[in-house]
Structures are given as structure tokens and as C-alpha cells.
């Protein structure tokens, strides 16, 4: 059994706790007073963390577990790395790729095919990664020569 992480305490913690909770309270009060639809605002605030903690993170953990059981040790890191990198880039590209905000009256909004763009970005990243690996290998072999 691993040791538990340290629990907080001390003057620095309590000083920043008072300050931080003051800011949190200001945000909550400000939001309740000023946001145009408080129930929607709260739903998005709570919904975001709920979707991440109860759906996204368990799925990621589950995929990690499956990969540990099903992939060979020699290429497991490449599979894990490729999937994680793709997921992180896709998380950013997805709203633009889905283009729910596209309006035919405004051709300057979301003008590009972001699906293709995301694929291109992944291929470019793969190329850069390959170049970096090659340069590091070359440097290592030059050092040892």
C-alpha cells in the first residue's frame, strides 16, 4: 500500500485558503446576481465536472486498463501515446470540426474543413516527432562514436 499524499495545513495554506475562498464566493455571488440564466450557468459548471469525472476519466482509465492487458510491452507506449495525443488534439478540434456554429450567411466563420485539418495536424505532429527522435538518435550515435 502506497503512503497517502500529504494533507494541507500551515499559515501559507490558511492565508491562501481565505483569499481563494473569498474569490470563489465573489464569483458565485457575482454569477448569481449577474448571469442571465443562473440555472443554465450552474448546470454547465456542475455538468462539466460531472461529465469529466464520471464519464470521460473512467473511459480513459478503462482504455488504459484494456491496453495494459491486450498490447505487447514493446509497442504499448506507442499505442498509448498515439491515442492520448489524438484525444487531446481532438478535444480542441472537435467543436470547430462539428461546426454547429456555421452559418451559410457568413462564409468567414468556420471556413475550413477542420476534420481534414485535424488529420493534417496529427500527421505533421507525427513527422515532427519522427524528426526529433531521429535527431536525438543521431546525436547519441555521434557522441558514442
Amino acid at each position: 500500500m502506497s503512503a497517502r499524499p500529504a494533507t494541507p495545513g500551515g499559515p501559507l495554506f490558511w492565508t491562501l485558503a481565505v483569499l481563494g475562498w473569498g474569490l470563489i464566493a465573489a464569483g458565485i455571488v457575482g454569477g448569481l446576481r449577474n448571469v442571465t440564466s443562473v440555472p443554465h450557468w450552474i448546470a454547465w459548471l456542475v455538468g462539466g465536472v460531472a461529465v469529466h469525472d464520471l464519464v470521460v476519466a473512467p473511459v480513459v482509465a478503462g482504455i488504459g486498463r484494456v491496453l495494459r492487458r491486450t498490447t505487447g510491452a514493446w509497442f504499448r507506449a506507442y499505442v498509448q501515446g498515439s491515442l492520448a495525443f489524438t484525444a487531446l488534439v481532438a478535444a480542441v478540434a472537435l467543436p470547430n470540426a462539428l461546426a454547429f456554429g456555421r452559418d451559410p450567411r457568413n462564409p468567414s466563420g468556420l471556413p475550413a474543413n477542420v476534420w481534414g485539418g485535424a488529420l493534417l495536424l496529427l500527421l505533421e505532429s507525427l513527422l515532427v516527432w519522427g524528426l526529433v527522435r531521429s535527431l536525438r538518435g543521431l546525436r547519441r550515435s555521434l557522441r558514442s562514436a
Partner: protein, 402 residues
């Protein structure tokens, strides 16, 4: 009566140290096995990712609050008209930093996720204060990046007005971050000072350092894929960005079209007249021909959208200060610029004294040598240095002097 405290002690012991058989699902010690979730790896990766996110969120918070102050200035705040491209930089940094932080945030959350299920959940009052604040930090962080990202994709499914919701969410998030810094300062400094350790995963998966590099590489990749929406030389790289700074009528993007603003008929009316009224000695009513007959000035100024894209253009038109002089306004006059739009949050904007009297604040009639396109604000639009795009009012109907 005598046995109750003993039972309570037993219950407390059971809750705080449950037998292995009762530890199920994510509550098991090794539920999240794997090298990356071993404690030294978690602490070191969490420290690096936390440090990067702390800097990124602070930058986003400060630039976001600045943007909010510019758009809705309290009495003590005066935003200058110079340097002309300052807002372009602060808001470009705001959006770019927010986008760059998304892979780092997910990597951090996936790194520390097993701790969500730690048992006992709370070990002291300080720990309770910290853990509840995590709800604000994690909820706020996910909220901020999700709503920000969706908003720049021109999709508004929130049910609340984005600017206020995002602004107040930022205070909750930054408050959670401040508490978290206090709680994790010691372990973060210790983890960063400690040597690497556990660099190679014994089970063949991603190493600790490999995962960290991957997270920062993904952050760099999404930045490279979007930054061209505001840095024109990198436009061709903006393959996942919602905007291209050269795509749009007259080579400029449009945020709100004339059709969306429902001003097509009024803006195309040949009897259009610009009114200059309020605190002036000589109220004016000028046709488009009258405006074109006045001394013209040209200025190269950016349109810098709150959504992070920006683009330079050469604007031509009548300096607002010339119109104020013509109408006999006071030298320290401030101005409300009203649009032909009948409603909407951005149907008018304010020019403080500095902006109203800056020689490059124009009632623009042309862009890049052509008469303004309808979607760029024909017959006349406001364009001034160092202003958010939403405050560069299009289809101007009236200048109300104060």
C-alpha cells in the same frame, strides 16, 4: 449507553480504514494500476502540469478581466487608444493560452484522477477546505475551457449570455486555484526539486516523462494549429482554427452579418443619414455623399475580435474628432456610437475621451480602398485603435455626444 461510543469508534474505523473486501471499484488501492499512477510519478507530473496550468490560468484570468473592464468600464478604469494593437495582443494571448491549456488540463486531471476516490475522503478540517475548493477549481476549469472553446466556434448553446457566465466562472476558477496553490505548494516544490525517478515504465507503457512530453507536445500542436487566426504569417498553419484572418468579404472575417443583425434594408437605404447630436452646439445630419465630401483620413488598424482572431486592414473615412469639431462638441467630449440595429448587446459602444479624439478613430467608409461591404458595416462603421471588435460598431446611425 456505554457501548455507543465504542460502536461509533468502530464505525469510524470501518469508514476510515475499510477492510479490503469492502474496497470496490475505484476505491481499491490499485484500481488505477500502471506506472503513471504510482505516487512519485503522479506528484512529479502533477507538479509540472500544475505549474504550467497555474501560469496559463493566471494569464487567461488577467487578460480576461482586462477585456471585461474594457467592454464594461467602471468609473476608475480608462483604456487608452494607444498602442493601437495592444488589445489584439492581450485578447490573442487570452484565447491562445486558453486553447494551449486544454491538453494540459486533461493530462493533469487524468494524472490525479485516482485521488478523487481516495479513502477516507477527508482527514482534517484543512483537507476538507481543500477538497471542497477542488470542486470549484475542477468544475471551473472544465467550464472555462469548454465554454470558451465552444464560444470561439461560434456556437452558443449555453442558455446564458456567454460574457457574464465566463467572467464570473473565471473568479470561481481562480479562487479554487489560489486555494490549491496553498495546499500543494510544499509537495509541488519538493516534487520539482526531486530527481526524475521512474523515467522508464517497467511494464512497457508510456514513461512518466513520456506522458509529460506528450501533454506539452499536444499543447504545442493545438497552439500551432490555431494561432494563425491572429498571427497572419502563420495563417496557413491554422488548420483547426475557427477563423482565417484573410477569409471574408474584402479579405476580412465578419463576426455578425447584416442579415443576422437585420439591418440590410436600413443600411442599403439611399436616404441614409448620420446624426450627430447630444451635447453639441450644431446637431448634424449627414448623407453618405456629405460624409464622403469631408476631409478623409486613412489608418491601418486591426479588427481584434474577443474570440481571439484579428486582422489588419487599411481603413478610410472621416475622423470622429473632425465630426465632433464640426458639431461644436466640447474638447473633452465622450461619445455613444449607435448602430442601425434595433437590438442586441452590441448595438452601441462608448468612445471615451482618448478614443473619441484619437486622430485614427474613424467613421470608416472604405476598407482596403473599396467602399465597405454591407457585412463590414456599410454605409459607415466605427474603427478605432486598441478596441475590441465588438466595440467597433457597424452600420452607424448616430453619434450621441456627452
Amino acid at each position: 449507553m456505554v457501548r455507543v461510543p465504542g460502536r461509533l469508534r468502530g464505525l469510524a474505523r470501518f469508514l476510515f480504514e475499510p477492510p479490503e473486501a469492502f474496497r470496490v471499484g475505484p476505491f481499491r488501492e490499485e484500481a488505477f494500476g500502471g506506472e503513471l499512477h504510482r505516487r512519485p510519478n503522479v506528484e512529479r507530473n502533477a507538479a509540472w502540469l500544475g505549474l504550467a496550468l497555474g501560469v496559463a490560468f493566471t494569464v487567461c484570468f488577467l487578460t480576461g478581466v482586462l477585456s471585461h473592464l474594457i467592454q464594461d468600464p467602471p468609473g476608475w478604469f480608462v483604456w487608452p487608444s494607444r498602442p493601437a494593437g495592444l488589445y489584439r495582443i492581450t485578447q490573442g494571448v487570452h484565447v491562445a493560452t486558453g486553447i494551449a491549456s486544454i491538453p494540459l488540463l486533461f493530462a493533469k486531471l487524468w494524472t490525479v484522477y485516482p485521488r478523487l476516490w481516495r479513502w477516507p475522503p477527508v482527514e482534517s478540517v484543512a483537507h476538507l477546505v481543500e477538497r471542497v475548493s477542488l470542486l470549484a477549481l475542477v468544475g471551473g476549469s472544465v467550464f472555462m475551457v469548454a465554454t470558451g472553446l465552444i464560444n470561439v466556434s461560434l456556437w452558443y448553446p449555453f442558455g446564458f449570455a456567454f460574457p457574464g457566465g465566463h467572467f464570473w466562472g473565471a473568479w470561481i476558477t481562480i479562487g479554487g486555484l489560489v486555494v490549491h496553490v496553498g495546499a500543494k505548494w510544499g509537495t509541488t516544490v519538493a516534487a520539482l526539486r526531486r530527481g526524475g525517478g521512474d523515467e522508464i515504465a517497467s511494464e512497457g507503457g508510456l514513461s512518466r516523462r513520456g506522458f509529460l512530453r506528450l501533454a506539452f507536445a499536444a499543447s504545442a500542436a493545438v497552439t500551432a494549429g490555431t494561432i494563425g487566426q491572429t498571427v497572419r504569417p502563420l495563417e496557413r498553419l491554422a488548420v483547426i482554427a475557427p477563423r482565417r484572418p484573410s477569409v471574408g468579404p474584402q479579405g476580412l472575417p465578419v463576426n455578425k452579418t447584416a442579415a443576422e443583425a437585420a439591418v440590410r434594408r436600413r443600411a442599403s437605404d439611399p436616404d441614409y443619414r448620420l446624426g450627430v447630436g447630444g451635447a453639441v452646439a450644431r446637431p448634424l445630419s449627414l448623407s453618405l455623399a456629405d460624409l464622403e465630401a469631408l476631409p478623409q483620413r486613412e489608418a491601418v488598424l486591426p479588427i481584434a475580435c474577443v474570440e481571439g482572431w484579428s486582422a489588419n486592414a487599411r481603413w478610410g473615412g472621416v475622423p470622429v474628432r473632425d465630426l465632433l469639431d464640426l458639431a461644436g462638441a466640447a474638447p473633452d467630449a465622450e461619445v455613444t456610437v449607435e448602430s442601425l440595429q434595433e437590438g442586441g448587446a452590441y448595438r452601441s459602444s462608448e468612445l471615451n475621451r482618448g478614443h473619441a479624439h484619437d486622430p485614427d478613430t474613424l467613421l470608416a467608409l472604405r476598407v482596403n480602398g473599396e467602399r465597405l461591404a454591407l457585412d463590414h458595416g456599410f454605409p459607415a462603421r466605427l474603427i478605432g485603435p486598441n478596441r475590441p471588435g465588438v466595440m467597433q460598431t457597424k452600420w452607424v446611425a448616430r453619434l450621441v455626444v456627452r
